[in-house]
Amino acid sequence: MKKLAIAALVTAATALPALAQHMKLEDQVKYRRAAYDLLGLNFGSLSAMAQDKKPFDKEEAQSNADFAAMLATVPRHFFGEGTDKNTKAKPEIWTHRADFDAKMDKMVGEAQKLPAAVRSGDMAAFRKQVADVGHACKSCHDDFRAK
């Protein structure tokens, strides 16, 4: 079931750039927020386990990490020109695009190390990876997301 869901996500994610091209601007905002929300849901669960706020459950963590790694790749396709209305995305995204993209790359790279960190069973490595992802989220939100 989970494999299927992930396979569906992979297919969807690879088809995203083409889809986003023909999308209404306001829908792009809707989808990127939806993606971030699901990313936040999965990452939040990992973070709670990393900080012992809830017990570490390897199966759940693996599923969260797999989803997070996949979902991390989604939002970048929905930041087209003109999608700066009714959103918390700051206009600086489109004037400092290279910096924004670099922060996105960094976050995606870190998130994609999550599944291996869970699989390793090494709690220290897992905690460190969760913290690295958290920093990658924060460094972009600090600069490019309005309060």
């Binding site: 990992l46 973070s47 958290g134 939100h141 309060k147």
Partner: protein, 226 residues
């Protein structure tokens, strides 16, 4: 000069409160800026601050004489008059807060209270939520998170003015204010007749602190779980 020409202006609970608060506010600022994995400590430190603030408000009514609001809150005219004199270099020492400093105390406590209360509802949209965020609408959470971020600079601004003012008193008016907040003593200026102000009861302070901690515990642990 005889050896008794000094009085104790700050009682022990007030002094311990002061330095604990300063330490926790600095710690909260740093952990908030670093983010994960320090956010759980940021929240714990915030609960400590909330407890201290509740204690200080109670102490403002039940504490030693110089710690009471009724002692150091004076009319704006007196505060302005004092400011004018100090700016012209004439310094009139007070046993306790001067009229301007008294207002600064209340403003700082209020700003910290706003910071702590907004934090209870804040969500950084990464992995940290204040304990009461689950109890209110998302629009409210979003507003409180924004206030938490903006008010942070008010807190930093006030702390800077506070420290700068103490430095100015030291260098311009030759008045030492930091030391007495550590040991409590100030020398009585020549020609003044300062009675020793009543100090607060440490036992009462402990009871108030315990009560404040219990209230904070209910607010951040018991109530969110209901």
């Amino acid at each position: 000069m005889n050896v008794t020409a000094r009085i104790r202006v700050w009682d022990l609970p007030t002094r311990i409160f002061h330095w604990s608060l300063a330490g926790l506010v600095a710690f909260s600022f740093v952990t908030g800026k670093i983010g994960d994995p320090w956010m759980s400590w940021h929240l714990r430190s915030g609960y400590g601050i909330l407890t201290l603030l509740a204690f200080r408000i109670a102490w403002g009514f039940a504490g030693g004489r110089t710690a009471r609001f009724s002692h150091f809150l004076r009319g704006p005219r007196i505060a302005l008059e004092y400011a004018r004199e100090a700016l012209s270099g004439r310094y009139h020492p007070f046993a306790g807060h001067n009229p301007l400093g008294g207002w600064m105390v209340v403003v700082m406590l209020a700003a910290l209270l706003v910071q702590a209360c907004t934090g209870l509802f804040a969500d950084d949209e990464i992995a940290t939520q204040g304990p009461l965020a689950v109890k209110v609408s998302n629009a409210f959470v979003s507003r409180m998170s924004a206030w938490h971020s903006f008010n942070e600079w008010l807190v930093v601004g006030l702390a800077t003015v506070h420290v700068a003012a103490i430095a100015l008193y030291r260098w311009k008016l030759r008045a030492r204010l930091a030391g007495p907040m550590v040991h409590g003593w100030v020398p009585v200026p020549p020609g003044e007749n300062w009675p020793q102000p009543a100090m607060g009861h440490t036992g009462l302070a402990l009871a108030l602190l315990a009560f404040a901690a219990a209230m904070a515990y209910v607010l951040v642990v018991v109530y969110p779980a209901t």
